[in-house]
Symmetry: C2
Subunit: 210 residues, 2 copies
């Protein structure tokens, strides 16, 4: 019988090695470009064994995608639970989000691409997430601040989009940014690091009351 797959198991188990290899290949090549053979090779096993643990490419991908997407969102929402003034929340959020993205720079572009290319593949995952995100995340951050009269009452929606855009796009659009501004890899990395503070300060200059 095929056993139930739990996330916390022997870290060097065949199953884990397969999963790790799959993550690498999917992130690198995307769903369409990923080859089961390559996943098997990188895990150091036979292709048949791959199907023994994960029935199909689709199932393997779905599992990875669900894990990834929830990591991306849950890792972040922590910041919002803290009871802090808007200013401090924004600073911590920027710091946390960019730190997270630096560790997984390929993630957001991967997610956006796969959502567009294979919406049916990830429908279930996205529906789960929709329910969660509706009650957490950014909405709180800004509406709360307006109610508490901490910031100017402009368009909260646009402000949220400004923030998310300035934090995520430089990661997603690395190639574009580097080309447009003619940067080396080191310069690029330094700039991203700077944005942890540059972005919140830029935003605060515009919206802070008093």
């Amino acid at each position: 019988m095929v056993k139930v797959h739990q996330s916390s198991e022997n870290l060097d188990s065949t199953e884990q090695r397969i999963y790790t290899a799959a993550v690498d290949v999917f992130l690198e090549k995307g769903y369409d470009g990923a080859r089961m053979q390559e996943i098997a090779d990188r895990a150091g096993i036979n292709k048949a064994l791959l199907h023994y643990y994960y029935r199909s490419k689709e199932q393997l991908f779905k599992r990875f995608f669900a894990d990834t997407v929830s990591a991306m969102f849950e890792n972040i929402s922590m910041v919002f639970t803290a009871q802090l003034p808007f200013e401090e929340k924004l600073r911590r959020f920027s710091e946390a989000y960019i730190s997270f993205l630096i560790q997984r720079p390929g993630l957001p572009l991967f997610l956006l691409t796969e959502i567009r290319l294979h919406p049916q593949l990830i429908e279930n995952t996205m529906n789960d997430l929709k329910l969660k995100s509706r009650f957490t995340m950014m909405k709180l951050l800004i509406h709360e601040a307006i109610e508490k009269d901490e910031i100017e009452t402009g368009s909260a929606l646009h402000l949220m989009i400004h923030i998310v855009s300035m934090l995520i796009f430089p990661i997603v659009g690395k190639s574009m940014i580097m080309m447009l501004l003619d940067l080396t890899n080191e310069q690029y990395a330094a700039i991203i690091e700077e944005r942890k503070s540059v972005v919140p300060e830029f935003v605060l200059k515009t919206v802070k009351k008093s």
Copy 2:
């Protein structure tokens, strides 16, 4: 003999129909997901004829990619040639860029994805572009303004990234934005339209002198 392919020919020629079909399929499915058979079907022709006009999938893709990328960049740089104060340039740039992206919403995500997935495929195109962009585009916009003392001397680099991010990301990250903020398609479209003015005004609030 295979004739030379020119861009301005009989608009309903077989060659053009193939090209149009190819553009649609590549944009929709990406390079890996695109199928020569589907391109042929949509062009209403035999697959062999497709190879008669464009030798290979690779060549067909390269042609499309080069066209696309130059359209994306050249369409924009016009704004910068005009002799106008920074404020006005920024407003026109935002308006022009978002208008362009509304008409081709799939383009930036497509470009970023293919650059990451198939850098070797598009090497030549990108090198050409690098040379061009080094002397045009955004660099001028902001450095000029600083020299003319129109805006505060902060980090010009970050300011450029802020602007590009706020303009492009909402298009690239449509699915993410819609989910995060729980928007309908109509609400989303309205917000993008608003950003033509919201983004430049937001930026100007922060950097304008006096």
